[in-house]
């Protein structure tokens, strides 16, 4: 029987991190190490001429690399999600800009010098002559006739056009509907802003290879891609992702920068370190979201939703980052129906090139954009027909009896009880009482709002056959080796690469349970391609459902062998042997028993093995899930909008999440908290803004508002537990649910608060001024009059 599964075991990771003894990439210090810095474009679109002579002449400067120096030696940065049937164009992305720059922040040259400071000096001394060209940063503007062209090979700036669902059936549903609502939504551009900036240290090895420490969510993918870019065989390239200070998607892609650091180390024959500055990160690391959508929903007055139509324009930035094409298509369009049984769905997405930093996966990646629109539409629909928003949801949920449920977009939802999660949230927030309170306050001229978000998410990215079908240029399985040492200590060696999600702990829980080994004796190893089996990495809330599947299978194989051996040593039948309190014994006869360590030792001594049993105690598993997993839940948010200032005060935030079986409730709640913070960030504070001149004007933490302790509300976390039948542990991912659910919950609450004023939608971020203007207009006063 499991004993650790489901318990809030303290995190294994913390011992080093709270002492300052973690090893992040910038903590790697090597003899003779030198430092790199990049020269980046200050123009959104320009022809360039680079003169590096002054920089090369500075003392302490070892090299300056420009496009000419790397031509033919470092390959272009690839795009690896080739979404089919979309007319996808993948414009070439050189590691250093050649002749033309296409966004502010694009790398033009890299300098290498003896110290950080000298590298910064040398970067300042590289002279770049810019001849400005026309630019366009807004996706809709980039589609207009005559718009500046970002790439010669991308006519009209259209990178792809993608469809999902059934257009004709949806047109019919709308034609026959009693009610139709529509919204124009801007899902604004966000900056992932992991607290650790990207960093790379490359060191040549005596064999002519390289070791690269880098801030990656997926070191095996980094090695796969970089070995190609650098024409370096994989066995010569070791990629290490040591402690990684958050990623949220921004550390999935391979960027030009790491490839250049690796190249420099090979050319110079010494270790080279590059540490992104935060100013650099704002323009050089991917952004997320940035969609403009025209969306509509139709149905009947009895509350039945019959159709949903989405026309979205996705701003992909100047180049297609590694996984970018899949984000506003596969990860977005297929989940548009959300938690609802909607018969007709029609989604069209146009991916557009602009002179901006490339966008790619940011926590949730496509699913927040889908959930936001459907949750906003459901509320709008409810208001139009005069029905409570919770009631409309209840009437349209995929019922608990309908699983597995096939959506009109081709997904098969695994399991769920959406109404149960919503009921839990409504109860926790005191929905009925809160509605009465809202009425009372409205009479006083105060604006209280209650917002719901009943989401379903597709995550646990896998299986591989689906990856192939949707053009993802990789597999989506995971791997694990459970290696028992002679003393009984256990190494769990995984291909995925957690960086804050706590799998060093949760995977140890799983393995300790499976083997009957003490938790303290189980150690999880990850993040080093030389030490771990191939795996596809940590993103898309997949490490626990997919990686955990591999761990579980490998652990079971080891446990089976241990039990067989124990039975042999105890001279008992295998089926009679049980494990109690970490000891193997015959059921009902605990007096004669073996510890797991005893069994491990015997497996390695191999003196008395059963016939045919191999020595040693180790097993590996490659686990390819049979389907995605579909976490779901209901977040409820209560706000008051200050009628005088437009400020939003969050009075309650209740998160009910169902991520299947819970291995460690403490860690699960932590994931929800962080996710909710990022969701609230989008709703209330965050937004990347380009000005008329193509500059990112929210390019520091002074301008781009991350959630702060003072701004965040207390988050109440609750759970329902509906196991997934799609993996051995019954788990679902929980890394992104909070982000997906929170944004619409807050916006729905604010719109609900302002509904008496006729407000149907509010753009994000919902700044105090934006709401104040809405309040002023709705109250029949021009903002100017409000002044008086």
């Amino acid at each position: 029987m499991p004993t650790l599964f489901g318990t809030p075991v303290r995190r294994r990771e913390d011992a080093r991190l709270i002492r300052g003894e973690g090893l992040y990439t910038d903590d790697v210090r090597l003899p003779d190490m030198v430092y790199a810095a990049f020269v980046r474009s200050t123009h959104p679109s320009a022809r360039i001429r680079v003169d590096a002579s002054a920089a090369r002449a500075l003392p302490g400067v070892l090299a300056v690399f420009t496009a000419d120096d790397v031509a033919g030696r470092v390959g272009d940065v690839p795009t690896a999600w080739l979404v089919p049937d979309s007319g996808l164009r993948t414009p070439p992305r050189p590691v250093l800009a050649r002749d033309v720059v296409r966004y502010v922040g694009e790398p033009i040259a890299m300098v290498v010098a003896r110290t950080r400071a000298l590298a910064a000096d040398a970067a300042s001394a590289v002279n770049v002559a810019y001849e400005p060209l026309p630019h366009v940063t807004d996706a809709r503007a980039a589609l207009a006739p005559g718009a500046p062209q970002v790439h010669a090979g991308v006519p009209g700036n259209v990178l792809f056009t993608w469809h999902a669902g059934d257009r004709e059936a949806t047109d019919r549903a709308f034609a026959e509907a009693e009610v139709e609502v529509s919204l124009s939504i801007r899902n604004q551009r966000l900056v992932p802003a992991a607290m650790e900036p990207r960093t790379a240290v490359a060191a040549p090895t005596p064999e002519g290879g390289l070791t690269l420490w880098t801030t990656s969510q997926n070191p095996h993918i980094a090695r796969f891609v970089l070995s190609g870019m650098l024409s370096l065989s994989e066995q010569r390239l070791r990629v290490v992702a040591p402690d990684v200070g958050g990623g949220f998607g921004s550390k999935i892609p391979v960027y030009p920068d790491e490839a250049m650091v690796a190249h420099a180390a090979r050319v110079l024959g010494v270790p080279v370190k590059w540490t992104e500055t935060r100013s650099e990160a704002f323009v050089a690391t991917i952004h997320g979201r940035d969609q403009v959508q025209d969306v509509a929903m139709c149905g009947r007055r009895d509350g039945t939703i019959t159709g949903i139509r989405v026309r979205a324009t996705a701003n992909m930035g100047a180049y297609l980052s590694l996984a970018a094409p899949g984000v506003p298509t596969i990860l977005f369009g297929l989940i548009v129906p959300g938690a609802y049984r909607i018969g007709a769905v029609d989604v069209e997405v146009v991916g557009v090139a602009t002179h901006t930093t490339p966008t790619d996966a940011y926590r949730g990646a496509g699913r927040p954009e889908a959930t936001f629109l459907v949750e906003r539409l459901v509320d709008t629909f409810a208001r139009r027909i005069g029905m409570d928003a919770a009631e409309v949801r209840r009437r349209n949920f995929v019922p608990a009896s309908a699983f597995p449920y096939a959506t009109p977009t081709g997904l098969v939802y695994d399991s769920g009880d959406y109404a149960a999660a919503m009921d839990r949230a409504l109860e926790a927030v005191g929905y009925e009482a809160m509605r009465r309170r809202q009425e009372d306050l409205r009479r006083e001229g105060r604006y209280l709002g209650i917002g719901l978000s009943t989401y379903v998410e597709v995550c646990g990215l896998g299986p591989s056959k689906v990856a192939g079908a949707v053009g993802f240029q990789g597999g989506l399985w995971e791997s694990a080796t459970v290696r028992v040492h002679p003393s009984g200590k256990v190494a769990v060696i995984i291909g995925a690469s957690p960086h804050g999600q706590g799998e060093e702990t949760t995977f140890a829980q799983i393995v300790a349970d499976a083997l009957g080994a003490p938790f303290e004796d189980v150690e999880v190893v990850h993040g080093d391609t030389a030490a771990t089996p191939m795996g596809w990495g940590t993103y898309g809330s997949r490490t626990t459902p997919v990686g955990g599947g591999a761990v579980s299978l490998a652990a079971r194989r080891v446990a089976d062998k241990a039990r067989r051996l124990a039975a042999h040593l105890l001279e008992a039948a295998e089926e009679d042997v049980v494990v109690t309190d970490g000891r193997y014994h015959v059921a009902g006869a605990p007096a004669r028993s073996l510890s797991f360590a005893d069994v491990a030792l015997q497996a390695h001594l191999a003196w008395r093995l059963p016939d045919g049993m191999e020595p040693g105690l180790e097993a590996s598993a490659f686990y390819d899930p049979e389907n995605f997993v579909f976490p779901f839940g209901c977040h409820a948010c209560v706000v008051e909008v200050d009628r005088n200032t437009g400020e939003v005060r969050i009075l309650r935030y209740v998160a009910v999440d169902d991520c299947g079986r819970i291995i460690n409730p403490m860690i699960v709640d932590g994931q929800v908290h962080g996710g909710v913070a990022q969701g609230l960030g989008q709703a209330l504070w965050e937004g990347a803004v380009y000005d008329e001149s193509g500059q990112l004007v929210t390019a520091s933490f002074l301008d781009y508002a991350l959630p702060r302790a003072r701004l965040m509300p207390h988050i109440e976390t609750l759970h329902t537990e509906t196991p997934s039948p799609h993996n051995p542990l019954g788990v679902k991912g929980v890394g992104e649910t909070g982000t997906i659910a929170a944004t619409p919950a807050v916006v729905n609450a604010v719109v609900d608060a302002l509904a008496p004023l006729g407000v149907e939608h509010v753009d994000m971020p919902m700044t105090p001024e934006r709401l104040w203007r809405i309040l002023s207009r709705a109250q029949g006063r021009a903002p100017e009059e409000v002044r008086a």
Partner: protein, 289 residues
């Protein structure tokens, strides 16, 4: 990021600091460094020489002298915010100091550095203007006094000349039956004031306003004293409705400025709300004695 290289000299007296500044054109004073170092690090400014005055003991301290509050240029925001004397007699200044940046910045940042930086969205100038602070400026030619109304000339522009050092700011007490309050609407990212308002009220024997002061920061390029609002308060009981009425003309003769985060309209609106609130709070505190 890393600043361009500069020379560094540590002064152990005001004279030595002034002499070092005089020797090197473009040299700048370094105190806490919390205004200057961020600019240098981003290479938005370059200096040939930094003259570190942190060890000049005579520039430190928060003290009451002949009834006046004297804050040395090297006093840390935290020391001002925590000072019992300041909290009691110059409440708005203590509150403003407690709003500067964050706790780490307040540990290290200095009053002199903050005032000399001349950031219109900073907290302290608004409070110093409220108290009619007199700033002492030292140069090779000796000391001169500059009133707060004449000190800030524009965004990041002050009356400090090349080679001069701000040494202290002196503020007279408000008197009996008087109190002050500070209100701030912070930018969600930077924490700087979108709008800040400092207000003070002195009551007569009948609980009516004998004197009112209102200083507004963040909303204009230079913090200002709202003369019309101050005048409108005189003779009224400082309850919230009266205060709201008095600030109707808060921006008389002033042009509120907007930016990406908040427009001029919105700032003006918030400034009125906060001014009324600060006046009412000061009035209530004055009445409570």
């Amino acid at each position: 990021m890393i600043a361009e290289a500069f020379d560094y000299e540590r002064a152990d007296s005001l004279e030595a600091a002034l002499a070092a500044l005089a020797r090197r054109p473009g040299a700048k004073v370094l105190a806490g460094g919390h205004s200057l170092l961020p600019l240098l690090k981003l290479r938005l400014a370059q200096v040939p020489l930094l003259v570190d005055i942190d060890g000049v003991g005579e520039l430190g301290g928060v003290r009451v002298e002949d009834g006046d509050l004297v804050v040395g240029a090297l006093a840390r925001h935290r020391d001002v915010a925590d000072s019992e004397a300041v909290r009691r007699g110059w409440t708005a200044l203590a509150q403003a100091a407690s709003h500067v940046g964050d706790p780490q910045v307040r540990s290290r940042g200095t009053v002199g550095g903050n005032l000399a930086h001349g950031d219109p969205a900073s907290d302290l100038p608004t409070a110093v203007l409220l108290f009619d602070g007199v700033l002492t400026v030292a140069s090779g030619a000796g000391l001169r006094q500059v009133s707060a109304r004449d000190f800030w000339l524009g965004p990041f522009a002050t009356a400090l000349g090349e080679g001069e050092i701000l040494t202290a700011v002196r503020m007279a007490p408000l008197g009996d039956r008087a109190a002050s309050a500070y209100r701030k609407f912070p930018h969600p990212a930077s924490g700087y004031a979108v709008v800040s308002v400092a207000a003070a009220v002195r009551l007569d024997g009948e609980g009516r306003v004998a004197e009112a002061r209102v200083a507004v920061g963040g909303a204009t390029y230079v913090p200002f004293r709202a003369a019309a609002a101050e005048a409108a308060m005189v003779g009224v009981r400082p309850d919230p409705p009266a205060c709201r009425e008095a600030v109707a003309d808060l921006f008389a003769g002033q042009e509120p400025a907007g930016d990406m985060y908040a427009s001029a309209d919105y700032r003006a609106h918030i400034a009125r709300l906060y001014a009324a609130d600060a006046l009412a709070a000061a009035g209530a505190a004055a009445a409570a004695g």
